[in-house]
């Protein structure tokens, strides 16, 4: 009987300590569960994929403080880039310079950021030695470099480069932009001014502002006629008044025609850049899509 009691006590003590220890461990670990590194990383990834980048960065930084992780650095840089905090993104990507796997990718992303910031010389500086890139990244570096030429005001490189770097699928569209960049349908400001000097309003008509052109012609014609008619009738004051008005309108007509050509050309540039932006965004600036970011 006594032996049986002793056995029960042993089993009880064993179970007691087992349950107590597991219970304690679970309570302690569960209370901190949400904030352990593994879960913070999980949660950070979730936020990142939800495009809640600011919060994702906080989570990644918390993990990164304890365990330095290059992929996280890349993700933080990428999150900054998405938030258009370009300088911080560049800073973060630059930390990966010596990294074996991510150095090339981070340089590509930095190149893209410089392109978005319109700091074109920096893009070339970064990508000029695209030969240095690993084989699979070279093509991306090359495409980004030649895409940048389409944004820049530098003379375009030979079209054969584009044929070399871009796939046949996108090449026709790229070449369309290339041709548009090479021969933009600008209107000559000088010609517009000269035309309006010869026949008032003609420069505006040349630019496509037909209504304004006809109005300018009528205004100048009527005022000029009035000046002439008053001189003829010897109404000197009125004649000089209308001469002055004619001169003002005539000068304004020339100036307006030059300005109209400038506005027209700005419109051409604006449409080109807008369409190129849409095209580039659609193709992610010809950079790789990182599957590891949202898995």
């Amino acid at each position: 009987m006594k032996r049986k009691t002793s056995q029960i006590s042993t089993i009880f003590y064993f179970l007691f300590f087992f349950v107590l220890s597991t219970s304690f461990a679970q309570v302690v670990s569960k209370t901190n569960d949400y904030f352990n590194l593994k879960n913070r990383l999980k949660f950070g990834n979730y936020l990142f994929c939800q495009q809640d980048y600011l919060r994702a960065i906080d989570e990644f930084n918390a993990v990164n403080k304890k365990i330095k992780n290059d992929t996280l650095d890349f993700k933080i840089g990428y999150a900054f880039e998405k938030m258009r905090k370009y300088d911080k993104a560049i800073e973060k990507f630059s930390e990966l310079n010596g990294n074996k796997n991510l150095s090339g990718l981070s340089r590509l992303e930095t190149g893209k950021i410089f392109l978005l910031k319109k700091e074109f010389p920096e893009v070339y500086k970064l990508l000029i030695d695209s030969i240095e890139y690993k084989n699979n990244l070279r093509q991306y570096a090359g495409r980004l470099k030649y895409l940048t030429y389409l944004y820049d005001n530098k003379p375009l490189p030979d079209s054969s480069n584009y044929k070399l770097w871009f796939s046949s699928k996108v090449l026709p569209d790229v070449m369309k932009f290339y041709r548009r960049k090479q021969n933009p349908h600008y209107k000559s400001e000088t010609l517009s001014g000269v035309l309006s000097a010869i026949i008032p309003g003609l420069g505006k008509i040349y630019v496509g502002e037909i209504g304004d052109g006809i109005t300018a012609l009528l205004f100048n014609g009527v005022l000029g006629f009035l000046a002439y008619n008053n001189f003829k009738a010897n109404h000197k004051f009125r004649a000089w008044l209308f001469t002055g008005l004619t001169a003002v309108f005539y000068g304004g007509n020339i100036y307006g025609s030059v300005a109209a050509a400038q506005i027209y050309n700005s419109g051409v540039n604006f449409r080109f850049t807008r369409e190129l932006n849409l095209f580039s965004k659609k193709h992610n600036y010809f950079l790789p899509k990182f599957k590891f970011l949202c898995e």
Partner: protein, 279 residues
């Protein structure tokens, strides 16, 4: 006897173990709530999101999403607030909860400046509203939407549906009385140049306008009367009509400017002095 004691002790331990599991999301909710109460909305949102992410039982889907929406609303991120109110609405179990969330979306739309959306939503809610108290709530927020839309007359009508002597109704009436009629200012300036400006309290501008119009009107008529048709046409077109047009355009502009001042003053008063519910 001893055997039962052992079993009891073990049972208690298992229960402690179980409650340990249950307390974790609760603690997280408390933590998030404390941040919310401290008006630390950014962190509160993070912690509610964390709770939602780890809450395997989906126990907090409604409350956490609702709080996230509120936090976004307080942080003036109205688009995100509306998104999360919609998510919370999907998890709402009671019709009351759904109704309240719809009203929260209406309030957020009022703050966002999309009053027309708010009014459209209130119209839809009115069709479903059964009780008088719900209808009163709808009238109340409709009044607010109209106030923000600068339509004080309709705002007054909406508040009158709740109570003819409602504090906001009386305020709307006052604003409505104070406001200038833009049409009247324009029309009076068509007939008597400068009088639109007098009406809105811009006396100097009104006098100048009247003076210019009298001067160029007289000169034009004089030119025509003296058979100087060309002079008459030129003065009328280049001078008189220019000042005449400027006169009624100015009157319209002043009336709108003054109305904006009155509206802003009234809204500021409501913001600082009114103690009732606000969007």
């Amino acid at each position: 006897m001893c055997k039962y004691l052992y079993i009891n002790v073990l049972l208690i331990l298992f229960l402690v173990n179980k409650t340990g599991f249950a307390q974790v999301p609760e603690n997280q909710l408390k933590f998030a709530d404390s941040l919310f109460k401290a008006q630390n909305y950014f962190d509160a949102i993070t912690e509610y999101k964390r709770l939602l992410f780890f809450d395997g039982n989906n126990e907090y889907d409604f409350s956490a999403n609702y709080k996230i929406a509120l936090a976004y609303k307080f942080g003036a991120k109205y688009g995100s607030a509306i998104n999360y109110f919609r998510i919370a609405s999907n998890y709402a179990k009671l019709p009351e909860q759904k109704f309240n969330i719809e009203l929260m979306i209406v309030r957020t739309n009022i703050l966002r400046g999309t009053e027309n959306v708010a009014l459209q939503m209130l119209d839809d809610l009115m069709k479903q509203a059964g009780t008088v108290s719900k209808k009163k709530e709808i009238y109340y927020w409709r009044g607010w939407a109209y106030m923000f839309k600068d339509d004080w007359e309709n705002a007054s009508k909406s508040f009158a549906q709740i109570n003819p002597n409602h504090k906001l109704k009386l305020l709307c009436d006052k604003v409505n009385d104070e406001k200038y009629s833009v049409t009247f200012a324009k029309v009076i300036s068509y007939i008597l140049p400068g009088f639109g400006q007098f009406y809105t309290g811009h006396y100097l501008s009104g006098l100048l306008s009247l003076g210019w119009n009298v001067l160029w009107g007289y000169t034009t008529v004089n030119a025509f009367a003296s058979d100087r048709i060309f002079d008459g046409l030129v003065i009328a077109n280049l001078l008189w009509f220019r000042f005449y047009r400027g006169n009624f355009q100015n009157a319209e502009k002043f009336a709108k400017q003054e109305n904006l001042k009155i509206t802003n003053k009234a809204l500021y008063k409501i913001q600082t002095e009114y103690r009732g519910l606000k969007p």
